[in-house]
Point group: D2
Chain length 346, copies 4
Amino acid sequence: MTDPATMNTAPPPLRFAILGAGRMGVEHGHALIGLPDAQVVAVADPVEAAAQTVARLTRAARTYADPLDAIHDPDVEAVIIVTPTSTHAALIEAAALAGKAIFCEKPVAADLAETERVMRIVQERGVPFQIGFNRRYDAPYIQARERIDAGEVGVIEQFSATGRDPAPPPLEYLKISGGVFLDQAIHDLDIARFLVGEVTEVTAVGSVNVDPAIGEIGDVDTTTALLRFENGAQGVVQNSRRAVYGYDVRTEVFGSGGKLVMDATPKTALLRYGEGVGMDHYHFFMDRFRDAYRAEIAAFVLALREGRAPTPGAHDAVESLRLALACTRSLKEGRPVRVQDVQATP
Amino acid sequence: MTDPATMNTAPPPLRFAILGAGRMGVEHGHALIGLPDAQVVAVADPVEAAAQTVARLTRAARTYADPLDAIHDPDVEAVIIVTPTSTHAALIEAAALAGKAIFCEKPVAADLAETERVMRIVQERGVPFQIGFNRRYDAPYIQARERIDAGEVGVIEQFSATGRDPAPPPLEYLKISGGVFLDQAIHDLDIARFLVGEVTEVTAVGSVNVDPAIGEIGDVDTTTALLRFENGAQGVVQNSRRAVYGYDVRTEVFGSGGKLVMDATPKTALLRYGEGVGMDHYHFFMDRFRDAYRAEIAAFVLALREGRAPTPGAHDAVESLRLALACTRSLKEGRPVRVQDVQATP
Amino acid sequence: MTDPATMNTAPPPLRFAILGAGRMGVEHGHALIGLPDAQVVAVADPVEAAAQTVARLTRAARTYADPLDAIHDPDVEAVIIVTPTSTHAALIEAAALAGKAIFCEKPVAADLAETERVMRIVQERGVPFQIGFNRRYDAPYIQARERIDAGEVGVIEQFSATGRDPAPPPLEYLKISGGVFLDQAIHDLDIARFLVGEVTEVTAVGSVNVDPAIGEIGDVDTTTALLRFENGAQGVVQNSRRAVYGYDVRTEVFGSGGKLVMDATPKTALLRYGEGVGMDHYHFFMDRFRDAYRAEIAAFVLALREGRAPTPGAHDAVESLRLALACTRSLKEGRPVRVQDVQATP
Amino acid sequence: MTDPATMNTAPPPLRFAILGAGRMGVEHGHALIGLPDAQVVAVADPVEAAAQTVARLTRAARTYADPLDAIHDPDVEAVIIVTPTSTHAALIEAAALAGKAIFCEKPVAADLAETERVMRIVQERGVPFQIGFNRRYDAPYIQARERIDAGEVGVIEQFSATGRDPAPPPLEYLKISGGVFLDQAIHDLDIARFLVGEVTEVTAVGSVNVDPAIGEIGDVDTTTALLRFENGAQGVVQNSRRAVYGYDVRTEVFGSGGKLVMDATPKTALLRYGEGVGMDHYHFFMDRFRDAYRAEIAAFVLALREGRAPTPGAHDAVESLRLALACTRSLKEGRPVRVQDVQATP
């Protein structure tokens, strides 16, 4: 099956640096080491031990304290940015200017003007760019998209998404997160765009149920948004920062030809019959979406290898942010907001 | 186990008239004949053959062409009103004035003033009254309510309901139905009130996807409503007049203590493994809610027998209508509507 | 739809007597009163209060202490025999000799010779006869049979059935039950014959796990049987007298074209998310198979009305018993037993 | 979190050779490269291109044509044997004599005497040995075992397993496979031992349904076995070489405290509502048990690292084979066979 001649001429693997050695650095390190077409040559993190852990996992030769040093390492062709959110924009900019391919966790920035500015640089420099909306690479969502494209659902008329986390992140994180729509709901909003299309108007409500401290920093933890899509479809998105039963992501697309439901029950193939019937539920996004994290990195590497633009890219980064900002504004102002009215204020 | 003495003193069954011998007349006839505490003594329908069919099913001795004759039959203690919607108010009024217990299919009337007027008569006369919101007697909804009351869900924070019919009713029916919120969504809105509480504000959108003729009569066939509850919870309700896969009713209640989901898949306990795995879906409300129809009539009879007020009653008839009218107004005016602003205009 | 002329000439309902006013008398009384084509004219039970309860439910005019009196009541056309098992054969015989149509709960008798003798009388007299294998009228089993007949499963190659009760019946009952294969497993064995075909050889094992007293009366409470079918298919049947989670019936048919699984989870459409995900399980055969009990009686009445032989009939009563006896013999003798070797010993 | 000092003293990874670069070589290569504690230093396969593919995947420095050369490579501490079955015994023997830790796909050999001989060498040399019964590392099976150990199922009384492949392997493979019990059913038999305990007696039947050529080589493709366990439990195992709907593995453990079911429906979290409700089924053992393959290798590496004996080991290799041979003998001789009567014939 494999031709030795082909083997001998197999191109050398793409050389990556992983910027950030936290949980997502480990996760994406796992993804890269499983790909023969990728080689991690450097890991950057101010915490040396963390950098070394990921370097050991990925068999990377070098570690850096400063991600900029990794970006400017001439041996590095592509970077995986999983540093704190506030550094994303600057690192993307540096990597783009250095001509490196870029994978970055969402968001680029909490600010639309800054996001648009940096995405413009990426596009001007022509460097490949992928934003980390991992659900687009989760098997049921991929299949849903394929079936929608194949016409199985007919004309899409209604969309519904639920996204609930087991518990809110630390308050320090929430303070700089841009709010629940930018930080959490944006995944559901991106899936709405992925499966249905662009949204024209949103009406959002929100309240504080989980922790009064969240209200004190001007955020909410429980939200519902009503969406109107460009193609006429109607949508709803419900989010909460706390579900005692675990991590809860459900999406439904309804149309003239049928319905697709992406849910996550049960977690494993074990049913327990005792007092009624019981099964496990997903506890966290990592156990629910692990395969999707692997797949999005594999897709990024494959796109680089084949010279195609990776997806989702700069446009999706900007438009999902705009949609999340529209929800935020609707919540604040207590009225429907047209998405196109959300513009960067230079 | 059964004491003959008790048997001998068993009270005679309650004597019912069924007004209307259409599909629901047959359905409620089935329910009554299964109850030893009930006896159908009369069936009224202008179509003699239909009346006779239900009379044969229920072993009723008499048929009437005019429901008023059945109401005034001195042998009749209680009436089941399943005539065309436009006649409900007048028949309720007549039955109340005649001192008969009343079960009536929803709605009392499409008009709030008329509904309030008739409900006032019912209350003034002190006759037992139950409105046909059958889902309140469906096993999973009953259990959900019990678990909510027991505190299992904690503080309710989010509500979500989907209601889709396999196909729209005839256009002639739709013309007098009062619109999709009054005719279809009202079941989901009533369940919202049943499980969560009163709604203070609604924002509704709607569109015509199923049949342009529905638009021509000023109605819509696909709707989404955003609800704000008095207790702070958020809700969404999505409805459609056409689901190619059948009858689709799903309800979710989320709170600080967990989540309850009432869904309906699969219809039967048969899984088919061939090209993937397949199972049947409910085709119509009759096969999905048959047990609930039986249970609501049984509950009505039991309440009469025990001298308790049946439920849901006059208040629920009025408030669910008000809520549906608020959705209708929000759709028409393109803005959030406070439910309490919907008042009868005398 | 209904033609008054037809209505007026509708044949009078068939006149039934219910023999036995225990749990199954109530159950079948419910079924009959729901059928316009049936009229219960008499109920027989030595316990007068019980007879009166069923008479009140079915609006029957007369009660008898002695079932033979009901059989010989000239107004009675058909009998439902739900008396204690030990009386079945004599009552069937009396009813057959009196020319009455007969529905009888299984079994006819625990003895093959007696069963064959009585079935012969039924057939000689030409009275309609149906034996109460209710699962054959459960929706998923009916659909399974239709799909098998339609060729969806292809050539059937493997069969698997599980039948578990929540708790054993009283010891007094077990003593006269004929043993677990005749009393409990016979339902699964009948379904094996219904869905796959005749069985040629069985190998059965059994043990006492639930209650030592069951062993002391020479019975077992936990059994597994290996079946070989005439058409080459292989089968297994597992039974237990006690499942702490409730009533557990699962059947699987596997063939060259796919697989059909009839299971019963969850009981209701309510999923509870808290500590994992939970749902209810069926507690007893009554809540699992209620619809099947109604359907088998409806089918009996319809067959009588249309002049067709009801099913399952005398042949199924005999052959299922022979199969159960083969399992019993295999268990006792610790070796495979050919079903045709089980013959009545006159 | 990570202490640099710890990092610096992290032990060097264990050095592996992968013997065999077919499908399972790739699979286990993926597992090893994801483990920081493992390093693949050599890959052996007579097909150079295949060896290079796995070497590239695992970043291994060397390839060998002859697995013995890899075994004797002084840099190699442990070997993963995924060569053709007929070579397993010899390679295990060589590796044991060379003092290398051994992971080997099942079976050691199709012959009991040869298996016992080689396992004896492994134990005499004291080298760590793990046999590739991957299902023991599948999450639901692990959890089932934990719950059984915790007493949740109480006393185990019944066991049931189904194992069906989508299609039979090539005839050339079947000829040397040792028959369906040794090649396919052995996984279910091993799980029976894993979850319930040792089996004392088996009664097996088999037939040819899938391909007459399978019969011509003296094998069968559809089997059912009745098991009696040492602890009194009863069991059944059904296998087929062909299921048109895919890969079908289901296991049920029933006891005095409840029931555990390990099934695999649906494959993904996508439900499709159209003509009924549809979902995907697993197509092959690779997509069903991928995580288990990763987990068994991770467990092997961890056991080596921690100096514990890996599991399942030599005893399980021998006893599962003995059980499969007992089934084979029962099928051939048409009678129950005591497992202890199956002994190596020197």
